[in-house]
């Protein structure tokens, strides 16, 4: 339950940034989604997003996306100053439409994955990842 001055500072800065930018971030997320989908309807199902419920280290959070039959998967960290994480494109010879990577999360937020399927439709999956100070276990 203690924090070094450095941690304290980092946390304070983190929350200051988070407090200052949510409006802009939401706009960025909407813009990124619109650019990827062209404004099309987004359904559910057919895409799996695996991420920890609580990050062990917010600086490197392992995530995995899997959308059989997708041609591309967009990943967004919706609470980051720059939400765009990346877009995975799958060619016709891809054996699986699956990708895993590690991402940095500025704080507790939803990770959003949207897959574009071969027929041009879109599906999404979303999960909250909590970035906590931690401290006291049973």
């Amino acid at each position: 339950m203690s924090f070094t001055r450095r941690d304290t500072l980092r946390l304070a800065i983190g929350s200051a940034v988070a407090a200052a930018i949510p409006f802009k971030v939401m706009a960025d997320v909407d813009a990124d989604v619109a650019a990827f989908t062209g404004g099309a309807e987004i359904g559910e199902g057919g895409i799996t997003l695996v991420a920890p419920e609580i990050a062990e280290n917010g600086n490197t959070v392992p995530i995995e996306v899997d959308a059989p039959g997708a041609v591309a998967i967009l990943v967004l960290a919706t609470g980051n100053p720059t939400p765009a994480v990346g877009t995975f494109n799958f060619g016709p010879l891809a054996g699986a439409q699956q990708a895993s990577t590690r991402i940095r999360l500025a704080g507790t937020q939803d990770v959003l994955a949207i897959a574009q399927m071969a027929d041009g439709t879109f599906v999404q999956a979303r999960q909250e990842v909590k970035v906590t100070i931690g401290g006291c276990g049973g």
Binding site: S2, T4, S15, G134, G137
Partner: protein, 567 residues
């Protein structure tokens, strides 16, 4: 899958058993001074497989007093649900008579008075007697240890867990999973695990660098028992690097990983498992949630949150067993497994009344052998409790042990505010009882004991309180870490447990002046058990020992500084 009728029959059988063998009767038996080992162990052996579950022993090799919680609140769908009921409500739910031995073992009311009559509970030599008795009826019963075993005492700290390992090996467990063990450091854990004569399991223990299953821990193990192919899948505590210092075991990553749990269940079923048992350190609410998401688990043996439940909780086709902590209870679960299915169960939560159950002399000898080199240090009396004070820890918001620790931190470290971690381990001390060094270490022993002293702004203190409260009261159990609220000395607050993070904690008040905590002002905070590497300060047991020696007689006034709403 089991039909509802099968389950109903099973639970009726279990109820009949409860009526016949123990639960409701202990009070009367005790009143007649006839509470006997035979009554406690009486069990009509059933089906073809027996499981024996112990968990969260926290290195308590000798009998102890342990007061169960007064406040244990559930949120969301778990509000008012088992195990979030206490005291009279708990006794009513399970038909327990007031003043009975079950009242004493399972609820907090009149604890010190009942303790005088019923005595200490637990002791691994008594647990051994119970295990031996079950094995006499069912020689191939599986003994499964849910973890938090190699942590929590003076001798465990000084032998780096070896004392508990030596004693537990006498009981011959078949498998184990983990939590606080990792705070011995990953090197030490691997050294012990490599020598263990039983399986070290954890399907969710991963290599942190490659995010692949760690090689040192198998996900599951198969056993052939009573002609039944049994698979035991391990589930270690999911939030180890968050709740405990991750720098002590940097090679490992955890998490709930229920997708992999499902894969493991499917894998063992495909390999012919007729009974799938999950040996879990998730915590009860997480286990309940996981049982609703993962299909194909027959039995979850639950640990971590220290709940002791006289009956299983049933979610779908899964039964969840909670076996308490600190060696107070052993669960026996008999199962009827036929045609690759669990057809029924019979269960008993066996309370280890140390004055009733004969110790296993061989195990007593091994326990005493572990303690012998430290006997002088263990038995030194530091002070005593006043006639009005029971020292205990369990409860969501405060316990008198932590009030004492916080007082010691404020006085000895000259702080405005003290913080003590909301852990759930640590036995109790009765009024007018000597407090020995062993007693103090039972509530403070850990490998990161440094008592820090640091300045924090009011705003930052609030952030910490909110963060910890969300780890306890998030409506989604998957976002809970177990444990209780951080204990605070020198400061009062109000908490509305049903609000979202950032809005639960309010009315922070500095008790010595009665003034509201100013978000922009700086306060001197003393605490211990920081998860950060390089934390400086004396070990907490030295701080508290000095304080107890100085005041001599410990009297802790009831804590009225936490105002809880939404319960």
């Amino acid at each position: 899958m089991i039909s509802r009728r099968d389950f109903l029959q099973a639970s009726m059988a279990a109820s009949a058993l409860v009526g016949a063998s123990g639960f409701g009767n202990w009070g009367k038996l005790a009143a007649q001074q006839t509470l006997s080992q035979n009554d406690l162990l009486d069990f009509d052996t059933y089906g073809n497989v027996s499981l024996i579950h112990v968990t969260d022993i926290h290195a308590q090799l000798k009998p102890i007093y342990f007061r169960e919680p007064e406040v244990n609140l559930g949120v969301g769908s778990n509000k008012g649900a088992v195990p979030h009921i206490t005291g009279a409500d708990f006794r009513k739910a399970y038909g327990i008579d007031d003043g009975s031995s079950s009242h004493y073992a399972l609820t907090y009311n009149d604890f010190s008075a009942l303790a005088q009559g019923y005595g200490k509970m637990g002791g691994m030599d008594r647990v051994s007697t119970v295990v031996n008795s079950i094995r006499a009826a069912r020689p191939d019963a599986l003994l499964l240890d849910g973890g938090d075993t190699w942590h929590g005492s003076y001798t465990c700290y000084h032998t780096e867990g070896q004392d508990v390992v030596n004693v537990m090996n006498m009981l011959k467990p078949d498998a184990m999973t983990f939590h606080w063990e990792f705070t011995l450091g990953s090197g030490r854990v691997r050294d012990i695990v490599n020598e263990l004569p039983f399986a070290a399991l954890g399907q969710n223990i991963f290599d942190s660098e490659w995010d692949e299953p760690a090689e040192d821990f198998a996900p599951y193990k198969f056993f052939e028992r009573g002609g039944v192919k049994v698979a035991v899948i391990g589930q270690a505590f999911p939030y180890m690097p968050i709740a405990n210092p991750g720098w002590m075991f940097p090679e490992y990553s955890f998490g709930i990983r229920d997708q992999r749990m499902q894969e493991m269940v499917d894998e063992v079923r495909a390999a012919g498992a007729e009974l799938v048992v999950c040996l879990s350190h998730n915590g009860f609410d997480v286990d309940k949630a996981m049982a609703g998401r993962v299909t194909g688990i027959d039995v979850i043996l639950a640990g971590h949150t220290h709940d002791a439940l006289p009956e299983p909780v049933i979610v779908g086709d899964t039964i969840i067993i909670a076996s308490g902590s600190n060696g107070k209870f052993v669960s026996r679960v008999d199962l009827d497994v036929r045609d690759g299915k669990m057809m029924g169960f019979r269960h008993k939560l066996i309370p280890i009344f140390s004055d009733v159950i004969e110790p296993d002399a061989e195990v007593t000898a091994v326990i005493d052998e572990q303690r012998a080199p430290f006997e002088a240090e263990l038995s030194e009396v530091l002070g005593r409790t006043a006639d009005d004070t029971t020292l205990y820890r369990r409860g969501n918001f405060n316990g008198s042990w932590d009030d004492l620790i916080c007082d010691a931190l404020i006085q000895e470290r000259e702080a405005d505010i003290a913080m003590s971690p909301g852990v759930r381990w640590g036995p109790s001390i009765l009024p007018g009882q000597d407090i020995t060094r062993e007693d103090l270490w039972n509530v403070t022993s850990m490998t990161y004991p440094n008592a820090y002293r640091t300045e924090m702004t009011g705003e930052f203190i609030h952030t910490i309180m909110e963060d910890v409260a969300d780890n306890l009261f998030n409506e989604d159990p998957y976002y809970q870490q177990g444990g209780d609220m951080v204990r605070v000395g020198g400061m009062g607050y109000r908490i509305d447990i049903n609000k979202p993070i950032g809005e639960r904690v309010s009315n922070l008040t500095l008790l010595k002046t009665g003034e509201a905590i100013d978000p922009s002002k700086t306060y001197m905070v003393a605490g211990w058990a920081s998860v950060n590497e390089g934390t400086e300060g004396p070990p907490i047991w030295d701080v508290v020992e000095n304080y107890i020696k100085r005041i001599g007689t410990v009297s802790v006034a009831p804590n009225t500084s936490v105002d809880v709403a939404g319960a």
